[in-house]
Amino acid sequence: MNFKHKFVFLFPGLFVLIGILIFPIIFTIRLSLSGWNSYTPEMNFIGITNYIRLFTDDPRFWESFFRLSFLSVTTVILQYIIGFALALMVWREIKFKRFFRVIFLIPMMTTPVIMTVIWRTFFHESLGPLNDLLGRVGVEPILWLSDPVIAKFTVIIVEVWQWTPFMFLLLLAGLLSLPKEPFLAAAIDGASPFRKFVYVTFPLMAPISIGAIIIRLIEASKIMDTVFVLTSGGPGTSTETSSFYIYIKGLREFQMGYAATLSFTYLVIMIISLTIIAKVLTKLMIKE
């Protein structure tokens, strides 16, 4: 085929994407070298002052980053285990199979912030149903949103509710595309369900699992909506994630220059750590 045509197909999309993105990225890098804030809203040049501040004098950013890592890794592990279990359960024939499949998919179709608005009333400490129902079986009221430790788990619960369906969808789609022969062979050998899972299903699903985990980690690393509505990073800074901290610095305190420094550092760390995680997972899960 003539080589000209292929560019006609590729370039519109590629250039639109690059065109929209190139400015923000260059601008962020340039902004990160400036002292743009509400007093001096201009693009001056202060060298790497912002970066020095970030690496020597800003424990809050690093705390928010470790908190984010904790939250996203925990939620993704939970989502993977639960999502895989659910996918295995509705993979083969069971009663009301299609009904359960639809139910299990629903949360990912709902807008996270809007559902979190409802979760907030659900977890309300005196007027919410959860503490009320727990109270009826004799459990003391739990401070879902105002205890620094419990609030983290509340965020995890909401995130698991919201995004397990996505993991479920990817894994079920994977299960449905598996070849039939290995399972027949295992059945002929009389393998128990447990051994069948360990020696047949899980290895076959390894590439799909890695893909699903990476996709979810990418999305989970952006946790922001839920935190924003549920706790606003509080109590104190106990549920503040990196994105939320950058948002406070940049668009509440208008330290644009410093926020750009945080953004750029955050992006670089994200890309490096996700690449490493992808490599390690591939090593761990694919033995051959």
Partner: protein
Amino acid sequence: MEKFYTILKYTFITLWTVFIVAPFLWAVSTSFKDFQSVNSKVTYIPWLDFEPTLEGWRVLVKSPARGGVDIVEPYFNSIFVTCTASLISIVLGTLAAYALSRFTFKAGFVRNNDITFFFISQRIMPPIVLSIPFFIFLSTIGLLDSLLGLVVVYIVLLMPIAVWIMVDFFNRVPKELDETALIDGCNPYQAFYKVVLPNSIPGLIVAGMFCIIFGWIDFFFAFILTFTEVQLLPVKVVALNSSITPWWSLSASALVSVAPLIIVAFVVERYLSKGNLSGALK
């Protein structure tokens, strides 16, 4: 042993279903409450626990001047932005995906896979990183607080999804299909338009649904880049949350906002059970 496993399975499925449905049931119940039944003690079942009213639903269509919350305009804004951005993303993404699946590109060390990865990797970009430059960029060209500005930003969010799904899909459409068309005298564009596209409808639907989902549920960009002129649905509902809005109208507006996409769950399930999704999501 077998029986134990079955019991365990159904217990788990039931518990998970309850967990998924719980917030919806609570919201439905709350949307029919009044001041007394929200603030005195926790109530659940209408008629039994409290006397239901329609107040929470009525305010949705009233104008703010008359004490309503008016979510009709944000609703249409959301539909417009989501659909426009999805459509542009699908068209451009499908063309690019076709190119990446059928032709070989070579520029220095860059190969097809690298270009595909470039498209998809845009999802890694945290919204906050983009939102600050976009904020300044859009205010410079006067598109801050406008629907058009949002559409531009949403294309970045959605095109990676379209490319991701369509590349995999085209890879499974046999190459002989276009080759036959070319031998029959079509030019490459006709081959794509008349032969490949009609055979790609399931893939296009799946990609379209995912674009619509991820466009519709986005909150952050809409929150940063719009203020008063245009408001999208999620921003509107969250604004209600922070003000003194009572729970009943909050619940009603939340339910109305999430309802349309629940239909998408049925469509996704249909494609999943028919096996069309299996290769499209890899």
